[in-house]
């Protein structure tokens, strides 16, 4: 006898989340309990997998230039993060290694300091930005937080809200939570076609068809193409980032920097480049890696003696303007889309704030600014 949640072709879910990365997983995690049944449809190993290639910052200080609401949304997520980490530990036994001891953007020379200071002041002055504590530190103040700070670092922007997690442990914890209750994880279910009839969505994959009353598009760079199938016109642009990982050492760096961090198990991550390179996520390039390495060694000269273990590139998921997109389709109500660059930072607010809105069937008016309507302003 077939059970209701077997792999029979007649499965009907309350909500199907398309995408098993950090955005889809955090939303599915947050949907548990609010709805009867949730499915997460994940692609196979061909997926671009930004969730497995990122730097793992929980980061506020660089977010929201050009959209004040994004700064506020990010601030709220950084405040919710301790709750997410504690709940994941409690439910799964997995410590995602959240540390929020403040973070630094290192600056080299007067030109960088002046430019960044002016940039932060303009960011903070925007409407919609909730003021938060930040400081420009001089070399000595920054050196008090970073043992062995290089003399080339003449200043740094600091906030107390910034921090780090282990992004792979985060993804694993979210998936472990699925197994413990209410979420059916369906790997190798890349969605090829979305149909909508009589209040039900039909998601066609190579293997079968999944039926759901509501759907959430959280498929990273595929959201543009999937969005078009539910009447959401989302201009997307992949942006490549390259990362170098150095061998594990005893913990030295407690205060992460936007370009250099040491993770909970001692490995060092050096980032973060930004390139428009199409979908070439399988390529690393020597000029970019050399620049990253040079800046890391100028930031912390002791790293000159620490070996690189590997380097990789991954594609950031970005709407054309770099800000998140949250929207319910007007033409196909019940179809929601979530696209953002910061799947790690925003995981907490996706789980605790966005998911309940989706369960209730409506996004709060405060999220209006995140809709794709901003891309389609008619000229006068």
């Amino acid at each position: 006898m077939a059970s209701a949640n077997s792999s029979s072709s007649s499965s009907v879910f309350d909500v199907a989340v398309i995408g098993g990365g950090l955005v889809g997983s955090a939303i599915a995690y947050g949907l548990r309990g609010s709805v009867e049944s949730v499915a997460v449809l994940d692609e196979g190993d061909v997926a671009l997998r930004a969730s497995r290639g990122n730097f793992g910052l929980v980061w506020l200080q660089s977010k929201g230039y050009g959209m004040g609401a994004y700064s506020h949304w990010t601030l709220r997520s950084t405040r919710l993060w301790p709750q997410l980490a504690a709940r994941l530990l409690d439910e799964t036994g997995i410590d995602v290694a959240l540390e929020q001891k403040g973070g630094l953007t290192p600056l080299m020379g007067d030109h960088e300091i002046e430019a960044r200071l002016a940039w932060v002041e303009r960011l903070m002055a925007q409407p919609g930005v909730e003021p938060y504590e930040w400081k420009l530190l001089d070399h000595h103040q920054a050196a008090a937080l970073v043992p062995g700070l290089g003399a080339d670092v003449t200043g740094a922007i600091w906030t107390p809200h910034d921090g780090i997690v282990n992004p792979l442990k985060l993804l694993r914890a979210l998936h472990a939570a699925f197994a413990r209750g209410g979420v059916s994880y369906l790997p190798n279910h890349g969605v090829e076609k979305i149909e909508h009839s009589a209040g039900m969505f039909h998601l066609r994959t190579a293997a079968r068809c999944i039926h759901a009353r509501k759907i959430v598009l959280a498929s990273g760079l595929h959201n543009g193409a999937l969005g078009a199938q539910v009447g959401i016109d989302l201009p997307m642009a992949p942006q490549r980032g390259q990362i170098i990982v150095l061998e594990r050492t005893r913990r030295l760096l407690d205060t992460p920097m936007v370009t250099l961090r040491q993770n909970d198990e001692g490995s060092w991550l050096v980032g973060d480049s930004q390139e428009d390179a199409g979908y070439a996520d399988h390529v690393t390039t020597l000029p970019v890696l050399a620049t990253l390495a040079d800046r890391a060694v100028r930031t912390l000269p002791a790293l000159g003696d620490v070996r690189a273990v590997r380097a990789w590139s991954a594609l950031r998921v970005r709407a054309k303007d770099g800000f998140p997109v949250y929207e319910q389709s007007a033409r196909h109500p019940g179809a929601f889309i979530a696209t953002c660059h910061s799947g790690v930072t925003l995981a907490a607010i996706h789980a605790f704030t966005l998911a309940p809105m989706i369960a209730a069937g409506a996004l709060a008016p405060a999220l209006d600014g995140f809709s794709t309507r901003r891309f389609h302003v008619q000229s006068a």
Partner: protein, 98 residues
């Protein structure tokens, strides 16, 4: 205890492992020499401190890390023995002097 499949190399090289002198065949990798000498745990992991030894013998698993002539975290399986080489078990994560 591992034993050699082939007869030992004609020439013997001596290295020092944690202060003890051991004889190796010329051309041995450090990892092979350690295993042949009965030392199968050449390091303690950086994360949990548990003992680990050479596993893949081809440069992939990083479970054979040792200190060689003062340089920490060397891959024992990718390094050939040299007369007078000083090898130390890698105990936990290496330190960075800031």
């Amino acid at each position: 205890m591992f034993s050699r499949l082939e007869p030992p190399a004609a020439r013997t090289v001596r290295i020092t492992v944690d202060g003890a002198s051991i004889a190796c065949g010329e051309g041995d990798s450090v990892a092979a020499a350690l295993l042949a000498a009965g030392i199968d745990a050449c390091r303690d992991t950086a994360v949990s401190g548990t003992a680990r030894g050479p596993f893949c013998m081809m440069g992939v698993c990083y479970d054979c890390l040792v200190g060689i002539d003062g340089q920490p975290n060397q891959q024992a399986c990718m390094t050939r023995v040299r007369e007078g080489m000083v090898v130390n078990r890698q105990l936990g994560a290496r330190e960075v002097k800031a």
